[in-house]
Amino acid sequence: MTNRQDAPAVVADTELVPASVAPVIEPPGIEPGHELLRLEGLQVHFPIRGGFLDQVRRRARGYVRAVDGIDLAINKGEILGLVGESGSGKTTTGRVVVKLTHQTGGRIVFDGQDVTTLWGTGNLRAYRRRVQLIFQDPYETLNPKHTIAEFVGEPLEVNGIGTSRQDREQRILAALETAGLRPAADFAGRFPHELSGGQRQRVVIAGALVMGPDLVVADEPVSMLDVSIRTELLHLMLDLRRERGLTYLFITHDLSLAWVLADRIAVMYLGKIMEIGPAERVIRWPRNPYTQALVSVSPSPDPPAEGERAARTILVGETPDAAHIPPGCRFHPRCPLVFDRCRVDEPPLFDVGGGQQAACWLAEGGEIEPGPA
């Protein structure tokens, strides 16, 4: 709870529009200069150990390159949508940020401090107060034998926050209230089985809020929920951002959810960021063929118009195994626009204007046609 007072929760409601990005209106709350989290060349390689001898000798037969060198920065008050299919490394990235998984390379900078090697210390505890994780499945996250108040209060106890029982209770009720469980006193004594799926996820959110975090890593927070409950929770997340200046790393496989919630979207494929930029630009003018394909197949309740179905890019096959990442551009075996260079050299992220970057050789000179709008 140290930095919360001096950091202004809400910046003035003025529109901070960078001249180059016309269609994007920066919502109130983002502090463009205040970088809250930065990942530099982050790598997570899991060793593959075959048999017992490999285990003993700590020798690896190879590595699963779950996260393979990504750079990412999130400003205070921003929502960054990290989108990818299963096996893209998006969840691993989130787990590294909350320090549940060790990185094997790269740096993590949080609020100006290098937290890369923050392990097993009191500092880690302080870090975790400011960075909280919300999991996907509200049914598995909650202990069925604990009341709601016990679940929400546990982190307070573990971290020794709050001076007395009453103080803790106050904090618990306030968190439940903020998460939209009103009247909070009614919910505090209940057990998870007495709640609906949407209410459970609100409890999980309350459990994250009670610590007063600055950054919330939300891993598919609404994927298990019904449409109408989903929108309620998305609105709650936006409200919390406005009221508390929360920053989100929003991890999802669903491009349309990132579209409605995130300010910027990063698209991951096999451990690399393929494209990153303001949501409007990434969705309306995707420059990487992978993003273009994802956007074109992204489901929509509008019935497809004549010929629209044919215009869709349905990629063949599935994401390769992260233990056998193709050489050159890792997307090249499935890319509809592949050419010689892609098979040999891996493209870096090229700036394509408007704060958008794409990892594609075609973006180098800007030859890619704007994708489906």
Binding site: D254, L257, A279, T319
Partner: protein
């Protein structure tokens, strides 16, 4: 596939003995399903009617607990032990399936109606090769010799886009999308008249989902399959189905050609549901919230069940069950807004404009 005029649609084998060759493929009338619970009986499905023609795809959508899965399961008596059909008719080729006994109905499962269950791809037997698992219903249900069942299983795998050399693979050797394809192959094993898919793409990645939907589309075109797709994902229905049926709290809110239903929804619930669906083809952050929660089906509200959450609720809505109104474009709606035929489109036009944006 060529159409045999002497047979029904794609059907190349005789109809059940009692079948009426002129009857529609499937006709469900006033179906009501109850679940016995310790503290009362849950009216999970209450007066649902719909039909399915040869080669047609019907999508049933709604939130959890609206009765969409229960409706499908009751067609072939697969309800859990505490569930029973209270009233109604389920006519397949004019044969009423409701009074059938367990042994009688078993003849209709797989052979006439097969169901791809939610998460079925995770329910494959892990220690049996997929080819054998697909051959099993052919052997058991149709009494075919093992050799020809195996050959047929290979053909089915090819049909759903798995090379038949992979018939010897175990489920863990296949990816999620491949397992789902194998399950679809299995549902086609006995060449059923109707395939019901209960959330067939829910656990899959977007790209794999697109592949599976493309496969279903192709199977429909090539085999003339009749499909019922049950999903909470409206976009899946918009993509694949000719007709859509929106259910709410055990009743049909609106049913009709999916293009009409998704472009000009009439029932306030359909309108709300569509405008709360994230859509990358529209403007951002225009998502609507449906206030409140679905009713407790042990004691559902009298009158319209959506009334407590409906922005257009009138006094009559809380008292009288809305009758179904049919429109000339083939849509039927159960809503009091339209019971006065003079001003049928007033409410719909207003809300449609709010949910619609120029993408």
């Amino acid at each position: 596939m060529t159409e045999d005029t002497t047979q029904r649609g794609r059907r190349q084998w005789p109809l059940p003995k009692l079948a009426d060759p002129k009857a529609p493929l499937l006709r469900v009338e006033d179906l009501a399903v109850r679940f016995r619970m310790p503290n009362g009986s849950v009216k999970a499905v209450d007066g649902v009617s719909f039909g399915l023609d040869d080669g047609e795809a019907l999508g049933i959508a709604g939130e959890s607990g609206c009765g969409k899965t229960t409706t499908a399961l009751s067609l072939v008596h697969l309800l859990p032990a505490n569930g029973y059909i209270k009233r109604g008719r389920v006519e397949l080729f004019g044969i009423d399936l409701v009074p059938k006994t367990e042994t009688q109905i078993a003849r209709y499962r797989w052979r006439e109606i097969s169901i791809v269950f939610q998460g079925a791809m995770n329910a494959l037997n892990p220690v049996q090769r997929i080819g054998d698992q697909i051959a099993e219903p052919i052997e058991v249900r149709l009494g075919q010799p093992r050799e020809s069942s195996r050959r047929r299983a290979g053909e089915l795998l090819e049909l759903v886009g798995i090379p038949k050399q992979r018939a010897g693979a175990y489920p863990h050797e296949l990816s999620g999308g491949m397992r789902q394809r194998a399950i679809i192959a299995m549902s086609l094993a006995c060449d059923p008249a109707i395939v019901i898919g209960d959330e067939p793409t829910t656990a899959l990645d977007v790209m794999v989902q697109a592949q599976i939907l493309q496969l279903l589309e192709q199977l429909r075109r090539d085999l003339g399959l009749s499909l019922i797709l049950i999903t909470h994902d409206l976009s899946v229905i918009a993509e694949t189905c000719d007709r859509a049926m929106i259910m709410y709290a055990g009743r049909v809110a609106e049913e009709g050609p999916s293009r009409r239903l998704f472009t000009a929804p009439r029932h306030p619930y359909t309108q709300k549901l569509l405008s709360s669906f994230p859509n990358i083809r529209t403007d951002r952050r225009t998502l609507e919230v449906i206030p409140g929660m679905p009713p407790d089906l042990r004691k559902p509200p009298p009158g319209c069940r959506f009334a407590p959450r409906c922005p257009f609720a009138m006094p009559v809505c809380t008292e009288v069950v809305p009758p179904e109104v049919r429109f000339s474009d083939g849509v039927r709606v159960a809503c009091h807004l339209y019971s006065d035929a003079e001003a049928p489109m007033a409410g719909a036009a207003g809300l449609k404009a709010a949910g619609e944006t120029g993408a």
